[in-house]
């Protein structure tokens, strides 16, 4: 199974899981499986129209899926998919 790495800011929605095994032969399937396992993640990844939000960056290995075939990018068993968050940095807590 491919492994999807969840960044710290989104682990609140995956019960703290950092690496989630996902089923699927491409990114689209993998994300469907991920959001089926953790439905609370869905609004953070997809907009109301069901499209990937523009600030969501997914990398297969070293490469951004935007530079490959987008959500149709194929993934192999054991491949590492990284979800890269947009973090403002800093440490303000409100």
């Amino acid at each position: 199974m491919p492994v999807l790495r969840i960044p710290t800011p989104l682990r609140a929605y995956t019960n703290g899981q950092s690496d989630v095994n996902v089923n699927g032969s491409n990114i689209s399937d993998a994300l469907t499986d991920l959001t089926t396992q953790y439905p609370a993640l869905k609004p953070h990844l997809f907009n109301e129209g069901g499209d990937l939000r523009p600030f969501v960056n997914l990398f297969v290995g070293e490469n951004n899926i935007k530079d490959l075939q987008g959500v149709d990018t194929p993934i192999k068993d054991g491949e590492k998919i990284m979800l890269i968050p947009s973090i403002a940095g800093g440490s303000h807590v409100a």
Binding site: T8, A12, P54, M82, I84, S86, I87, A88
Partner: protein, 383 residues
């Protein structure tokens, strides 16, 4: 012509002069160079200390904050003796103590579309050590428009990111993040916090990249993003490409001048006021203290469970903001309700969530439990 090094400087920088990649000429290059550091906080502390120590001839510091004791867990350029002083002045004193041969120019003002180009134009390199999206986009666009490298770093809890965004040679910040997440979708504010040493690790990498770029040595992180996790002690790298559709550095860029970044990001960059949902939706801590004496009010604490160990209000129900949408059925919209968090920002977002779900009898505790601790129950700690 590069400036000469004095006898004292040759001794001071002797460990640099011994490295062939730096040497006498490299050290003279550093003396001749200038770096602007946006933010004098967690990242700005190690960045400015190491760049000053390395002998960068002129360092600029932009910050408008004052040192608070809650900064000292990570902002190691400041100290207990400078609590209450301007951060830029506290930092300048420390840097000049470390290296009196350099020039430190300070800008005790928010970095904005009005002053950013003027401040940044005479520096060779910009280091982004800010803590909010509007200033990050501003810093990026300024660097693109002025054709300067922007050494970017950001941190969150145990995670850090570093890259060198240099539109002349590679992608810019907007190539990777064309637009910021909508406010409310970023849990960073809700859960916040940072391991104190994390900005040390990430800031020193940021300083390293700046020195490499200024010296013209090695392979700077241009077109590469470093992802660090302190818990796993993992360093991952991904490749970044220039985005042909980038609105500031792409071939068909349509953003040609600085914009209103607070509007673009939908969040304030320079807001130190207590979290407020607006006069119609706020309740102050003194009003709340009165009302709980006479009426039944449902108190909903939207902080994370571990924050309840620091301070809590009696009889409050804890539903962390991240779980609120899924746990609406636990709340009764017919009941008078007051939402609170640490200082009011998360509860404002919780209020927006509840009102859009049809709740009408709901208020936001302005200033959060910290305001309560300041004004009503002073036995509670403030954090």
């Amino acid at each position: 012509m590069l400036p000469e090094l004095s006898r004292d400087e040759i001794l001071r920088y002797s460990r640099h002069l011994l490295i062939p990649e730096v040497g006498l000429e490299g050290q003279r290059k550093l003396k001749n160079s200038s770096a602007l550091i946006i933010g004098t906080g967690g990242l700005g502390s190690p960045v400015s200390l190491y760049l000053a120590a390395a002998g960068i001839g002129r360092i600029g510091l932009v910050d408008y904050d004052v040192v608070d004791s809650s900064n000292l867990q990570r902002q190691v350029i400041h100290g207990t003796s400078t609590v209450g002083k301007l951060k830029v002045e506290s930092a300048r004193a420390k840097l000049l103590d470390l290296n009196p041969d350099i020039q430190v120019d300070v800008y005790n003002e928010p970095y904005t579309s009005e002053n950013a180009l003027r401040i940044a134009k005479d520096y060779d390199i910009i280091l982004d050590g800010t803590d909010n999206f509007p200033t990050r986009y501003l810093t990026n666009d300024v660097a693109v428009f002025l054709g300067k490298p922007n050494v970017y770093a950001s941190i969150y809890r145990f995670d850090g990111q570093v890259s060198v965004f240099y539109a002349k040679e590679g992608p810019c910040y907007r190539c990777l993040f064309p637009e910021p997440p909508p406010p409310g979708l970023v849990p960073s504010c809700a859960e916040g916090g940072v391991l104190g040493v994390l900005p040390g690790t990430i800031g020193t990498i940021q300083a390293t990249e700046a020195l490499k770029v200024l010296l013209g040595i090695g392979e700077p992180l241009i077109g590469k993003l470093l992802l660090y996790n302190a818990l796993d002690m993992s360093f991952d790298f991904v490749k970044l490409k220039k985005n042909p559709k980038c609105r500031v550095c792409g071939p068909n860029a349509d953003i040609k001048e600085l914009i209103d970044y607070e509007e673009f990001c939908g969040v304030p960059s320079h807001d130190h006021e207590e979290g407020s949902a607006g006069a119609n939706w706020d309740i102050t801590v003194t009003e709340l203290a009165e009302r709980v004496k006479h009426n039944h009010l449902k108190l909903v604490d939207v902080r994370e469970p571990h924050e309840l160990e620091i301070s809590r209000l009696p009889n409050a129900t804890n539903i962390p903001l991240g779980q609120l949408a899924a746990r609406l059925s636990e709340l009764d919209s017919a009941e008078d309700m007051v939402l609170f968090c640490k200082s009011g920002a998360r509860s404002t977002r919780a209020l927006e969530l509840l009102t859009s779900a049809g709740f009408k009898k709901v208020k936001n505790l302005k200033g959060g439990i910290n305001a309560w601790a300041r004004e009503v129950d002073t036995s509670l700690p403030i954090y």
